[in-house]
């Protein structure tokens, strides 16, 4: 911390809030080459991860990707087959769940059905031998924070889903754990409630300063909540980054496709210059313009406005998100412009999604924000149009 204070104002603040960018601060949670096998099945495969104090870190992935197993190893419910977990400098090997400085909020909430809200929240403190009067105050304080103080005497089955979720949160926070593990904390709530609760969760996390690790399969939730996201697949961490980084600069086809919607093209390099490259893509139509049409061998081209370390003829992938595309009636002068046929338009309220068919038969998705309530002469289904995007709109992926 003291090092960064010497740096000027805003940068110092940003660095303090984003310790992973500086590389000087000691990580709070250190996951070092953790592997977990269940018989022949490798649930978690050589995962290494550093998480810093005060972070709200999201593990994002589909079902069976190993994110929950990783969380359960942090909580102490599973033993790593190999590797090491350190929390606040302390090696967690051999430490049972009841002696760990972590608490967990379960996906099912796991509220004790035979205890009142108050007793549920008090349970952890009582196990630590905290004095009864202190317990009472702390529980009351906690229930007030999650706005459940009026329901302290109720049993879990007398609560709504949202209320149960808050009891589970209060119960896991009341012991002031160094690290809170949340397994799909919002998974059981309906959409509206989930969106409200997301912000509440972030607020509580910021107020208490506890480090959160959240497991979720919902990429929107991960984007909204987290300081950083770790995208997992098949037991491995594929990419770690802040939400915009993961969304705009995915490091692989998997991440590009899993986080958000993407149009993915497979191509090969036909021109490799320091400040641009050109890809030949079989799926795209030849538009006649641009140099090196001959080397594309009858395939369409994508122009990428920055250098990429690659070699001629190397196969690459190119990902461009629907909202980065533009749709017009006439060919545009953008570097990448192709004729399409509008097959369908899905009106979603805030935006419209166009399903476009390329001459070769391949489909693309493009979206357009509905900025005004009424637009004259919008492009509709059954029309011929042109789709285009800038030379900075997409990402080149090597894996």
């Amino acid at each position: 911390m003291t090092d960064t204070m010497t740096v000027t104002g805003a940068a110092a603040l940003a660095a303090a809030a984003r310790p992973w960018t500086t590389g000087t601060e000691r990580p709070f949670v250190r996951i070092d080459r953790i592997t977990k096998k269940f018989g022949d099945f490798t649930a978690v495969d050589q995962v290494s991860l550093d998480i810093f104090k005060g972070e709200l870190f999201c593990l994002l992935g589909g079902s069976g990707c190993g994110k929950s197993t990783l969380l359960r190893m942090l909580a102490g419910f599973e033993t790593p087959t190999s590797g090491k977990i350190e929390i606040d400098g302390q090696d967690m090997a051999g430490i049972p769940p009841y002696d760990r400085p972590t608490n967990m909020m379960f996906q099912s909430y796991a509220l004790f059905p035979h205890m009142t809200v108050e007793k549920n929240v008090a349970y952890g403190l009582l196990r630590d031998g905290v004095h009864k009067s202190v317990v009472r105050d702390r529980v009351a304080e906690m229930l007030k924070m999650v706005q459940l103080h009026t329901l302290a005497g109720r049993k879990p089955h007398q609560l709504s889903g949202g209320q149960r979720q808050r009891v589970a949160l209060a119960r896991s926070l009341v012991k002031q754990p160094k690290l809170l593990l949340l397994d799909e904390p919002l998974g059981a709530l309906d959409k509206k409630l989930r969106e409200e609760t997301q912000f509440e969760l972030v607020k509580i996390q910021e107020t208490l300063g506890v480090t959160f690790i959240v497991v979720t399969h919902d990429q929107e939730e991960a984007m909204t909540l987290s300081t950083r996201i770790g995208v997992m697949n098949a037991g491995r961490i594929i990419q770690v980054g802040e939400p915009p980084q993961v969304y705009e600069y995915p490091n692989s086809r998997f991440v590009a496709d899993f986080v958000g919607t993407v149009n993915l093209f497979e191509g090969r390099v036909i021109e490799d210059e320091p400040d641009f490259i050109r890809l030949a893509v079989q799926d795209l139509p030849v538009t006649g313009e641009g140099s090196g049409a001959a080397s594309a061998g009858g395939a369409g081209q994508i122009y990428v406005g920055h250098g990429v370390s690659c070699t001629i003829d190397q196969p690459l992938w190119y990902a461009v998100r629907p909202e980065k595309m533009r749709l017009s009636r006439h060919a545009s002068d953008a570097p990448n412009s192709y004729p399409v046929w509008v097959e369908d338009v899905a009106y979603m309220g805030n935006l419209s999604v166009y399903r476009l068919k390329l001459p070769g038969g391949r489909y693309l998705l493009a979206s357009k924000a509905n900025l005004s309530r009424y637009e004259e002469d919008t492009i509709s289904w059954g029309e011929h149009a042109w789709v285009s995007w800038d030379d900075t709109a997409g990402v080149v992926l090597t894996q």
Binding site: F38, G39, F41, A43, S63, G64, T69, F77, E78, T79, P96, P97
Partner: protein, 310 residues
């Protein structure tokens, strides 16, 4: 998904083992040792005794192993088993037990299935009441319920008195001390064991399956035979076996409701033991009964495993 459920199962156990939870071995040992000593070992004792010779002594058999100058002399006596084969009484008793148990179980199935189906399809409030009504007789004494049938079936009993009064018959029917009374008694006392597993299975039946079948053009009866019945087979087998297997060895019902010629193996065993005091032959009868029971018990276990997998 199967990998994930495999992981979830018994995870507390893995955790406890890892924690070196010292009580773990003890917790396993207590029920295992109890059942070994009081369930498994007794069968070995029965097996041993079935090979011994009967004697007028206390206890009334000769030891299997005799120590003679430091040498163990084991006298195996298969005579008890050849005796069972030679005397048609035993073979007939086995066959008649199987027949009575099978017919009773089939009858219980025919009576129990509609009841279980009706309860399972009832609204939840009524369902619990009806289920309670099925279980309630089971909580009252088995012996007394069989005794109640004596009062019903005897020649001056309730049924005959009623029929004579209405004029349908003018001579009392002979019902007590017949095989018919035995069937009736077994079906009556074991009916809850048929209804409960059937109910447990049928209540899980998804309504939308029946609706889908109807939607695809099947009439109710056709839906029943093509959807409901096949899906309820594990329940049918479990219920059938829960009646069939214990009924083979039934003693009280044939003793109280059957005639002197109602041959059932449980009764034969009882008489060998208590009247003839021939413990080795009684043991041989028990071993032979166990051998007969092994197959239906295995079928039962299979049905149970299938039911759990649902």
């Amino acid at each position: 998904m199967s990998a994930a459920t495999g992981i979830a199962r018994g995870r507390t156990g893995r955790l406890l083992r890892r924690l070196g939870f010292s009580g773990r071995a003890l917790v396993i040992a207590v029920p295992v040792v109890w059942l070994l000593v009081f369930f498994l070992v007794p069968f070995l004792v029965v097996a041993k005794l079935s090979l011994s010779q009967s004697a007028i002594a206390l206890p009334p058999y000769l030891p299997l192993v005799e120590w003679d100058e430091g040498m163990a002399i084991i006298t195996l006596n298969f005579g008890n088993f050849t005796f069972l084969l030679d005397d048609p009484l035993y073979i007939n008793a086995y066959l008649s037990s199987l027949k009575i148990a099978f017919i009773s179980a089939a009858a219980a199935l025919v009576i129990g299935y509609p009841i279980a189906y009706y309860i399972a399809r009832s609204p939840e409030g009524r369902r619990n009441v009806l289920l309670m009504l099925v279980i309630l007789p089971f909580w009252t004494s088995f012996l007394l319920r069989v005794y109640a049938w004596q009062g019903f079936l005897r020649s001056n009993g309730v049924i005959n008195n009623f029929l004579l009064w209405t004029g349908i018959i003018d001579q009392p029917l002979v019902m007590l001390q017949t095989n018919f009374a035995v069937y009736l008694g077994i079906v009556y006392t074991y009916l809850p064991f048929m209804i409960l597993p059937l109910y447990a299975n049928l209540v899980k039946l998804d309504d939308s399956l029946l609706e889908a079948s109807a939607d695809l053009g099947a009439r109710p009866l056709s839906t029943f035979f093509h959807v409901t019945l096949p899906l309820s087979m594990p329940g049918v087998i479990a219920g059938f076996m829960l009646v069939f297997v214990p009924a083979i060895g039934e003693f009280v019902v044939p003793e109280l409701l059957g005639g002197p010629d109602t041959l059932m193996i449980g009764r034969v065993l009882w008489n060998e033991f208590f009247s003839n005091r021939d413990w080795p032959v009684a043991s041989a009868v028990a071993i032979a009964m166990l051998v007969i029971l092994v197959i239906p018990i295995m079928i039962f276990r299979r049905a149970q495993a299938k039911e759990e997998a649902l």
